[in-house]
Every structure is written in structure tokens, then in C-alpha cells.
Symmetry: C2
């Protein structure tokens, strides 16, 4: 009996030509049959945005030698929805997003297009993983990342994931030999102290760039993703899409609204 190869969907948020997705496709081709559907341009910070007020275009491309490859004018979440419902002949066995150029730890998971694609995979009922490397450079070295990605993806293909849960994997910018291990942890409680960089156009009108400073409220805790990365571990945070604050239901019910 012929063994069916795992079917793997790959996307990212840095756009289909980013070196990070090239590295991810390279690893996935060693694990199964690969379909790539990724944004045609950078979509960082797009969070869980979907395209409903305008339309989508899809273009067939041939870049990485995968079974099928498409660029999409939409967001990372659009890519997952389109792939699963319009391109793929069956539900994929694994959905991976990344490898993002830059970390997506802590509160950043909610702003991240990379992670939103993985979360959307989980919503679609697919075991899903978002991968990020703490190196924003176009010349980032994905050598160590590729080994880590393969280890974790193979394990998820083997074990599956709990219902409603995907993984947020962040990899420190280190040689493989210097990475101390893989920590399963929680997202650190943190926020951004925003600073809007005000500039003026040639006509004298103001415009703004969003910038900010990351503030970690859990700086003393050792069970967080920020701690893991700071201490040369890969962080793996099980991430869910149910946003209900279940513990708060009883408390607010006492209000007798």
C-alpha cells in the first residue's frame, strides 16, 4: 500500500519572496507535499485582518519547486482561507507560517500576520505552527532555524495538536550549537509604550510613523517566552483562538445587569 505523503500548507507575512519562507519551504519539502499560498507583498502587523471590502487576486508562481505555489493580494489570513477552500484538494495535515524575519513573542502574537495565519489554520481545524527568528535582516541566517523547524514540525505531524490550539515558535539568533533547548512556555504579559514619530510632508502637513518601546511586566518570571529567548532557548507557546475570559464570566455575572 502506498503511503500518502503529508500535505503541508505554507504561508508567511513577509511576502512570498522573503528568505524566511524559502527556508520554510525547503524544510517542508523533506516532510511532505507542499502548497505555498503567500502574500505578494509584506503584510507585517496585519493581525487577523481579512479582505471583505475589496477583492482578491491570485497568481500562480514557480519559485521554490513546491507542488503548487501562488501569490495572493490579500492578508496572511486570506491566504489560509483561500488555500484551504479553493486550492487544496483536501484539508492539509499541517499548516506552517514564517519563518518570520523578527520575533513574535509576548503581546506581539496579536499583531502578527505570521501568527494570525497559524491561528486561522487552527480555526480551520489544521495543526498549525508559526515560526519566527529574532533577526529582521534580509540576510538573516536560517541554518539553525531549519533544524528547529524540522524537529517541531515533524513532532506535530506525528502527535497532532490539541483542538483549538496552534504553536507560536520563536527562535533566538544563535548558532545551533549555542541554542540551549526548546521551552514550552506562556506569552509574557507586556505592552508597547507607543511613540508616534511626527514628520511633515513638503506641504507642511503632519504624518506619523508608529514606533514604540516594549515593556515586559513579567521581567522577573522564568516561565515566559521572553525569558526563554533572552536565555538562548527556543520558545514554544501553545496559542488559542478562543478569546473568552472564562474566569471572568462568574465575576461579571454578579453585576446583575
Amino acid at each position: 500500500m502506498k503511503k500518502v505523503k503529508p500535505l503541508i500548507l505554507v504561508t508567511n507575512d513577509d511576502g512570498i519572496t522573503a528568505p524566511g519562507i524559502a527556508a520554510l519551504v525547503e524544510v517542508m519539502k523533506t516532510l511532505g507535499e507542499v502548497v505555498v499560498v503567500a502574500p505578494d507583498k509584506a503584510q507585517s502587523g496585519m493581525g487577523h485582518a481579512i479582505t471583505i471590502n475589496s477583492t482578491l487576486r491570485i497568481n500562480k508562481v514557480k519559485i521554490y519547486g513546491a507542488k503548487q505555489e501562488y501569490s495572493c493580494t490579500g492578508t496572511p489570513v486570506d491566504c489560509i482561507k483561500f488555500a484551504v477552500n479553493k486550492i487544496m484538494h483536501r484539508k492539509p495535515d499541517l499548516c506552517v507560517s514564517g519563518i518570520n524575519h523578527g520575533t513574535n513573542m509576548s503581546i506581539n502574537v496579536i499583531y502578527s500576520g505570521t501568527m494570525s495565519a497559524a491561528v486561522e489554520g487552527a480555526i480551520e481545524g489544521i495543526p498549525s505552527i508559526g515560526f519566527s527568528l529574532t533577526d529582521q535582516s534580509i540576510d538573516a541566517d536560517f541554518t539553525a532555524s531549519k533544524k528547529i523547524v524540522r524537529t517541531i514540525a515533524a513532532k506535530v505531524l506525528q502527535n497532532g495538536l490539541p483542538s483549538g490550539v496552534c504553536l507560536n515558535v520563536n527562535i533566538p539568533k544563535l548558532k545551533y550549537e549555542l541554542i540551549k533547548g526548546i521551552k514550552i512556555c506562556r506569552q509574557a504579559r507586556a505592552t508597547w509604550i507607543e511613540k508616534f514619530d511626527e514628520r511633515f510632508d513638503p506641504g507642511g502637513q503632519a504624518y506619523y510613523w508608529l514606533t514604540g518601546k516594549f515593556e515586559n511586566f513579567d521581567a522577573k518570571e522564568k516561565d515566559t517566552d521572553v525569558w526563554a529567548l533572552d536565555n538562548n532557548y527556543v520558545s514554544v507557546v501553545p496559542t488559542q483562538f478562543d478569546m473568552t475570559a472564562h474566569l471572568a464570566i462568574k465575576e461579571i455575572a454578579k453585576w446583575k445587569l
Copy 2:
């Protein structure tokens, strides 16, 4: 001693001219001093997107007689960040978003610009509420909604909210007398079965509209927001931004990665 009025930040995702935000501002003016910072165009489905690859413009407007009013070229989350960090002289006592034209129950909370603004308010440490009415029409009647909004907002101003939690309030399209009450509940487990409506431009190239059918996995459960709305109740779901699947940490730690 002069009593300081509550400072209230108002935004939405349907854009600053939507009747829903007019209704919301009207109610908030009876509760405190109001600052409006809202998108200059419809931003439905933008989820937790932020603008980092391009710039923001802010324009002062005078529409609703609030203390300060601005339209913003960015997303609902951008509006909250800009308001809190650039416009307001102190942290607001309350942040409200809506009233959305259309429901944001169940899984839709993650795609919703309305709710993402409220979630961002919570990330900023502000008691925050998103309001939605199950009526997408420009002619939606907000009479009943205004009473409900006032009741819930006044209670939140009085009690605050648990740390890290905001409220997702959905109001059924009914006369006030026919609304049975307010239910504190959880988001129903559900998904969208997407269908991409394929069309062809005059040049013969395909483009797609995202459409879909809502599928409720909790149709038999009575503790969900979908049940509440179907049974003529207002649904209130305490909603959190921590996406860690805390219960899955131990399970995945057993993998010995």
C-alpha cells in the same frame, strides 16, 4: 471639590460618519467628557491590524459636539494607540467601540475591527467595551441599543473590569421592550465555511470576493453568545487578549522537544 468627569474614548470600525458611532457618542456625552478618534473609512474585518509599513494621517473634525474629534487614516487599533499616546492628556476611564452595524459574536471577535479596538483598549489598561447591533443597515434603529449601551457603560465606569479583560456586547435587532435581558456568556465555538465568489474582470482575469456560511459547533449549548442573541437576549462576553492556551502547556511539555 469639583468632581472630575469620566474621560471616555470612542472609536469604531465602520468609519467616523457611521450612524452607529453617532449613537455611541450621544450616549457617552451623558456619562462624561468624550474624545472621538475613528477611522476615516470602513475598516470592517481589519482584526488587530496596525499600520507599520506606511504612515498615518490625523484630521480634526467637528461632527458630534464631543470635546475632541479626529478622523484617522489607520485601523481601529491605530486609532486607540494614537488617541491614548498622542491626543489624550490622561489615560481614559473608559474606551468604547461601535456601535457596529452587524454582529460580532462567536469566532467573529477575532476578525472584528470593532472588537480589536476594545481589545487594544484593554492592552492599554483601560476598561473597554465593544458594542454591536445585529443590523448591518445604514438605517439601523439604535434606540434600544442606546439604553443598553448606557446601562453597561455606566456599570463598567462604576465597577471597572478585571485586568486584561474587555467586554464584547452584542445587541439583538429588537424593540427595547422585546429584549429579554442581558446574558453574561462565552463565545460559541464556530467557524466559517468559506466560499470564494469567483468573477472575471473585463480583461478575463479572475478575482474573488470572500463570502461564507457560519457554522456553530455549539448549536445545542445555552451558555453561548449565539444562543443569547437567538433567544432575544443581549450577549456580554468577557474577552481577553492573552492568547496562551495555558491548559496545553503541560501536555506539549510531555513531548520532550
